[in-house]
Symmetry: D2
């Protein structure tokens, strides 16, 4: 059970809704993923940007918890404004704070993210900031009272997986709120690794939407996250330098 603020979820997969080739494929991918939390950029809601098609019409929004993000914001002020627009729709009061500090790497701006998170918490939002894997930033965010911390595995859309497992493990060790690994996941095994390390969930989008067969990849991600979580709970064997025989090496005297 994944608990974020007042919400509870059976699924630990948070699925983004950008970049799908069609709403039909998106809907099918969402279905097989069994995700209960869907993220999307507020700018893509056509109540605010009428030229955008409305993917929400395709889904029974009562079945999902919507997690709008502030993509497009480069300052705390912009992020706060976008979050308020999203809440005004009446569809959601969770917000993923996403404040990009650099257009080339799409990495988050730590200072503006802290600032926006603080303001949004005061405004009563359920706040999930997307952040780097800086261990102290993650700590400062949870000290502010955010409802989950979402460190990136690697740059958005890069598919590079978890580049710094040490930092991620430090963030998980110190966590007092759920840690959702966000950004950079490329393959099912990337998602499984995050879960095996003890992450509480994984947010991904491009890895599914950009796969040759997005629906099949959505299913793969669902299974990988379950596998990784079970593996975490099951307690893996230690890594050893030298081998250790599955079968006894002595006692073959009768053969």
């Amino acid at each position: 059970m994944l608990t974020i603020g007042p919400y509870e979820f059976n699924s630990r997969l948070l699925l983004g809704t950008g970049k799908f080739e069609s709403f039909e494929i998106q809907k099918e991918a969402v279905d097989v993923s069994e995700s209960q939390i869907l993220t999307f950029a507020v700018r893509r809601m056509n109540i605010y940007e009428p030229s955008q098609p409305n993917f929400l019409e395709m889904l029974d929004v009562n079945n999902y918890t919507l997690l709008p993000n502030t993509a497009g914001a480069s300052t705390a002020e912009e992020a706060v404004r976008i979050a308020k627009l999203a809440r005004a729709s009446g569809l959601c009061d969770m917000i993923k704070v996403e404040i990009i500090g650099d257009e080339k790497t799409l990495l988050p701006d730590p200072i503006e993210t802290l600032k926006a998170s603080e303001i949004l918490l005061e405004e009563g939002f359920t706040v999930l900031p997307y952040t780097s894997d800086d261990v102290l930033l993650a700590k400062r965010l949870q000290e502010l009272g955010v409802h989950a911390v979402m460190p990136g595995a690697s740059p958005i859309g890069s598919g590079q997986g978890i580049i710094n497992p040490l930092n991620l493990s430090f963030i998980i060790e110190q966590a007092t709120v759920p840690i959702i690994v966000d950004a950079g996941i490329g393959s099912p095994s990337d998602a499984a690794i995050a879960m095996e390390m003890g992450a509480d969930g994984v947010l991904l989008n491009t890895a599914v939407a950009g796969a040759k067969d997005p629906v099949k990849m959505a299913k793969a991600m669902k299974l990988a996250i379950e596998a990784g979580r079970l593996g975490y709970e099951a307690g893996r064997i230690p890594r050893k330098r030298y081998a250790s025989a599955s079968s006894p090496l002595e006692g073959l005297s009768t053969i």
Copy 2:
């Protein structure tokens, strides 16, 4: 569908039967793994070594394909003798050739493995050699006519996962028979990585038997292998150095 010689399997997980704490836990782990191929050391069959308890009595052997291995052999001659003993039981005609060349690392002896495989093929066995990730050795084995090649990911029981993905990918690219990654798998993600690379199956034992909760880990491995296979079929996104936005970065004019 995994096809090895004349046999067909729905499951791509080959499960070893050594090192479990009890036959009850082993049986339950085998059940939830949904594995159809069980491996075991011939020396542990109590028809040959009466002092050993007989794990086969615990299982309905008609439900499984048994894959005995020649563990304990350090020469081709010994391996051939063990294989013949196994076949004489009437339980199986598949044999995993396992000839250890070094007690510390438990790595396979390439020359004796080639020699034993050649003899066993002439004797009509369905032959699955455990080998290193040496690309040319794998090629020579498949040129001999073996029914699957089983390169190690890392030393037996080490839990280090796939150390040399390049060699494994070369072996898969050149493959004319199924490639089963064998030895060294420690976590569900290790198994998923092998499958995402295009391996046809994974053989593991210690990772399940040695986990704190072997039954839960058996389930995790089953899901991870399915996830990895689906991920392979779905076609992952390319890895990119720079980020790529899930949400369009322009067009937020109305906010």
Copy 3:
């Protein structure tokens, strides 16, 4: 030539002076390292802490540029106070801002580091902040006007080398001031990797002081940093998936 603020150096190795077994070994290690910049904790200067022996007496301080650090500070205020004490000694006006946010990982506190750097720049110091490998934090620091940015390779004293080469390469790409890799270097090859990536220098301490033979390791580090820098300037071959022959594969007709 390494240029930091008004200073120029031929050596790209900054050597810390903590943890040596004796001042004699330290002196010899400093000599063979050919380092021109020596770092030390202000608290270890016995002008402030008379119970500490004074390593500076062992060295001809006119031959070195001294880079005191603010180790022990956990807030910007403490760091500023330590920096002023150091400057008051008349020995130096460079300061390495080191504000630890967590006692277990010894990772830096980004917010306090930014704050202290801003104040010290206003006070006219030559400021070199030790920071994480967060790409945007490094950018914010250089926008403040710091004279060099010093991202950690991995936790202080851990000897894990560069865990996240992607972030380090992003920091180097965006750099407008020297990038000195600081903390986590364990081996000569770690230092060489940093330099091959285009870092301007490497600061290390434990890797030398904690080696079995610190003097020999000091020499190794000096050579490795030169090798890495030359390798960077020489322009390495690209990494390729497939092989490429050094010798032509055809034309052996006469043999």
Copy 4:
């Protein structure tokens, strides 16, 4: 001191002579590398292939030990014939056995390499086989009596460095003859890593010949190999998960 059969060398860098843009650059690179062992393909000696220019004329061959290789051979028989041609020139009695088993990966054929090594040892050659990083193959080769074992780090010319450090460390641990890491080195740090692990030498060619500035890279490699060797002798600090302070964290009472 590197001892191979009856020969002793101060340098641990074996330099290949293929692929240089000109003999002038090659000569200068050889000079600054301070290598004492030069390798070349017998087919490129113009005494056997008159259409080839003769790089040996450019060098004072009395200053170097020549190590011809059998590149172009795909069987033991061919390799033996090439080796004999080389010896007949009177220039050398060392031979690098290089028998390629696959044109795409240029990886060595283990069986033919073993066979050729055995024959050449009987013929009185000083034999240095190029092999994969298969641990047991390396053991079998040294049991035959070869004078050095030369495992590849990664495919020839790929510049991928040491892909499987575990296998290389096993080969070094079991070694009774010098281990020369051969093939795949791309950067100075790759060479340093091999030496830090305890390799006795490094053979490289493309990394220097294919660099933008081959002469500068030759110098970098020379320094890196010295750095790595010194680092090995100096005894590096252990890798630790958690940090360890260079400066004491307490006792700042007077500040």
